[in-house]
Amino acid sequence: MNIFTGLLGSALRMSTPLMLGALAEVFVERTGVMNIAIEGIFLIGAWAGFVGAYLSGNLLVGFLAAAIIGMAYGAVYGLITVKFKQHQIVTGTAMNILALGLTSYLYRVLFGAPLLPLTVEPLMDLPIPMLSKIPLIGKALFSQNALTYLAILLMPVGYWVLFRTRVGLIIRSTGENPEAVDAAGINVERVRFLAVLASSALDGVAGAFYSIGFLGMFTSGIIGGRGWIAFALCFLGNWNPVGVMLGALIFGLADALSVVFLTSGIKIVPHEFLIALPYILTIIATISRRRFNVPAYLGKPYVKESG
């Protein structure tokens, strides 16, 4: 397998959780709520996924657990920010700190402190019969795991839902002018809360990818800021599933590149620079893009009865 194919395949794989997380963030931010707890929910998902998969012996159970528990964790965030209208950054930070402690602690509660880390067999690749034989790109594009296929399919679906259905219209309008939505008789809080729930479920699955889709084990540092990259991608992709997909691929590529350089021992640039590359890219992109379609009411709680 040559370098190009390996790189492409690796890029797709690494970008999977980013695509899922960023798509989730697009949907929730389009209603005007930032899911600041994203990093924590990724971690919760990674933990829940591993626990579910390990205890049941079934990866699917793991992913389901990640979705459900991630959604439950996100529900708390949603309750505090949407219903109680408290500050999103403050609440999110609290939940991220809590998630770190909780996951480590509960892992210990369940499994104690084994000498060797517990493992599960991560997601296997499912090659598509004929397509995966295509030279050069076949192995990379069509010999991926189930979740990657799902993520790639989900992106155009997400685009279609957001821009071509009434649900999508309501979501977009809630972030642009919640008063218009309110006046149309739609419950703004409910739309936002449901969006938080849905995005948290997706974030949980994305986080689980790291533990049971890729590495096969759980450690407390497994997410390492990638939830934040998904968060940034929503912004950089201009709140559009297509833009987000492109961004995720680029970052997945940067991630894959750094692994290639590390394992092959090539040292053109210091290894740390490659690790920092996605973050530098984010800053550059944040600066250079002048006109963003920020949802007009992003971050502002909707208060109805004002005196």
């Binding site: 219209l169 309008s173 642009e176 008063e179 218009a180 309110d182 109805k304 005196g307």
Partner: protein, 514 residues
């Protein structure tokens, strides 16, 4: 579709609503017949909008019942209201600016329809409705780019699309030119003649007298009385609205003398959308003179004021203050040069609501030597100044440390006016200074402006309230699409002439033009 005489379209009984610190509606009874236009008249803060928001399901009343067509109705959300055939056109449009007309209409869904909503169907129906009622609009236009009068049409179409038979309109003419107002009134008459009903909220007596069949007057949350149009007169309504005789502010007219304090020459300023907001505009104001600019909002007045104060880029032309050029100077320099500015949006632009009264007093003057020295603020000096200001201008506040947002609208504006009175040693620019104020506060502000001119300051008064312009100005300029169409001496100005100019129709030149 019950239009039997005797069954009222809408009845409100005993509606009461509390908000923190105020009773917005106090045991209100109101009724509306089919085929009639009922005007809901009252000052700002009388409770009109709150009452209608309750009828429309946006607020839940703390007491009282609603009857639609004679039957008790449970309205807990706008969706319920729409199901009963009630639609509302709000003062601040509830439109999504970045979406198209169709998308905005589709947002409300189909109260009386079945089946999936397809863009083409909705668009077609919008066109049909538009033609039927004279409310033409392009279904695929982006709402934010439409002129305000057309945006209002979209709001109306939204309600009609959902089968509204009772239309509530909250101050609909505030943003319209006289021409557009005519069109709106034509629509209202046609609508009611088809057996529907309209509730028309307003504080403008003349309009109410023109369009309404009956008039209910609210004051301080209570119903003062209901008159039919034949029974009513402007004077009687004003008395009911305010509780006392209305006093028109008088002013001794200044003779134009003294030196030019503010000169604007050929000014060119761009608007937010890159358009030309101020188009080669020139004017001059002398010491002690009040120059009024009349015009429908959105014709460049605010951009003009901002440009003079250094808050907006000047693309061409000059601004000269007492011989000193201040074109595109930074706002701080201009403040220091003696320009006071009473902005149109006092809550956003003129005050920091979350800060205390004391701290707002020094907002545009914190750098003055008696207040601060080498960057350190002298708290005691601030306190003294604030005390003096509050006393002198009779600003009602529990204490100097009270957060400004706790003050009433009138007192907030008094604070702004008082502060700018002192800041503007040479020039005072006042934009919509009495907007949203009750009569007492409005009178006070107007008195302050008179006093300022008597003290020799040059005053630029920008207002959409024609009565105010006529009462205070020495000379009046009418702004239309960024140009001053004419400058007329007060003595020669009439409502008709200015009304025409506001709509862009130039009259013949007459002797009073400067």
């Amino acid at each position: 579709m019950n239009t039997q005489s005797g069954v009222k379209a809408v009845e409100l009984r005993g509606i009461t609503k509390y908000f923190p610190g105020v009773i917005a509606n106090n045991n209100v009874d109101l009724d509306l017949n089919w085929g009639e236009v009922l005007a809901l008249l009252g000052e700002n803060g009388a409770g009109k909008t709150t009452l209608m928001n309750i009828l429309y399901g946006l607020y839940a009343p703390d007491a009282g019942e609603i009857y639609i067509n004679g039957a008790l109705a449970s309205i807990r959300s706008p969706q319920d209201a729409m199901r009963y055939g009630i639609g509302m056109i709000h003062q601040h449009f509830t439109l999504v600016p970045v979406h198209s007309v169709v998308e905005n209409v589709m947002l409300g869904g189909k109260a009386q329809r079945r089946g999936p909503m397809r863009v083409e169907d909705v668009a077609r129906e919008i066109e049909e409705l538009g033609n039927r009622y004279g409310l033409e609009v392009d279904p695929f236009a982006i709402v934010g780019q439409l002129p305000v009068g057309v945006q209002q049409r979209v709001e109306i179409l939204k309600a009609l699309y959902r089968g509204a038979r009772v239309l509530i309109m909250d101050e609909p003419t505030a943003v319209l030119t006289p021409q557009e107002t005519r069109k709106l009134f034509r629509f209202i008459r046609e609508f009611k003649e088809k057996g529907n009903a309209v509730i028309f909220i307003s504080h403008k007596l003349a309009e109410v007298m023109e369009i309404a069949d009956r008039i209910t007057v609210l004051r301080d949350g209570k119903v003062v009385g209901t008159l039919s149009r034949t029974q009513a007169s402007e004077r009687r309504l004003a008395y009911m609205m305010v509780g006392r005789e209305l006093k028109t502010p008088t002013r001794t007219r200044q003779k134009r003398s003294g030196r030019k304090i503010l000169e604007v020459k050929d000014l060119v300023v761009k608007g937010d959308r890159g358009n030309l907001a101020v188009d080669h505009l020139s004017l001059e104001i002398c010491q002690g003179e009040i120059f009024g600019i009349a015009g429908v909002s959105g014709n460049g007045q605010e951009e003009l004021a901002e440009a003079i104060c250094g808050l907006r880029q000047i693309e061409g032309g000059k601004v000269i203050l007492d011989g000193q050029e201040i074109t595109n100077a930074n706002p701080l320099t201009i403040i220091k040069a003696g320009v006071g500015y009473i902005p149109s949006d006092r809550r956003r632009e003129g005050l920091v609501l979350d800060m205390s009264v004391e701290e707002n007093v020094i907002l545009r003057r914190y750098f003055n030597p008696e207040i601060s020295n080498h960057g350190i603020i002298h708290r005691r000096a601030v306190h003294t100044q604030a005390t003096k200001l509050v006393q002198e201008f009779k600003i009602k506040t529990p204490s100097l440390a009270t957060k400004t947002k706790a003050l009433s609208g009138g007192n907030q504006q008094k604070l702004v006016v008082a502060r700018e009175y002192i800041t503007g040693s040479k020039v005072l620019i006042a934009v919509q200074p009495t907007r949203g104020l009750d009569v007492g506060a409005a009178e006070y502000v107007q008195t302050m402006l008179s006093r300022a001119s008597a003290e020799g300051k040059a005053i630029l008064l920008i207002s959409t309230e024609l009565a105010e312009i006529l009462a205070l100005s020495d000379r009046i300029g009418v702004i239309y699409r960024g140009k001053l169409l004419e400058i007329i001496d007060r003595a020669k100005a009439t409502v008709e002439k200015i009304g025409l100019l506001m709509a862009g129709i130039r009259g013949e030149r007459n002797a009073g033009v400067e």
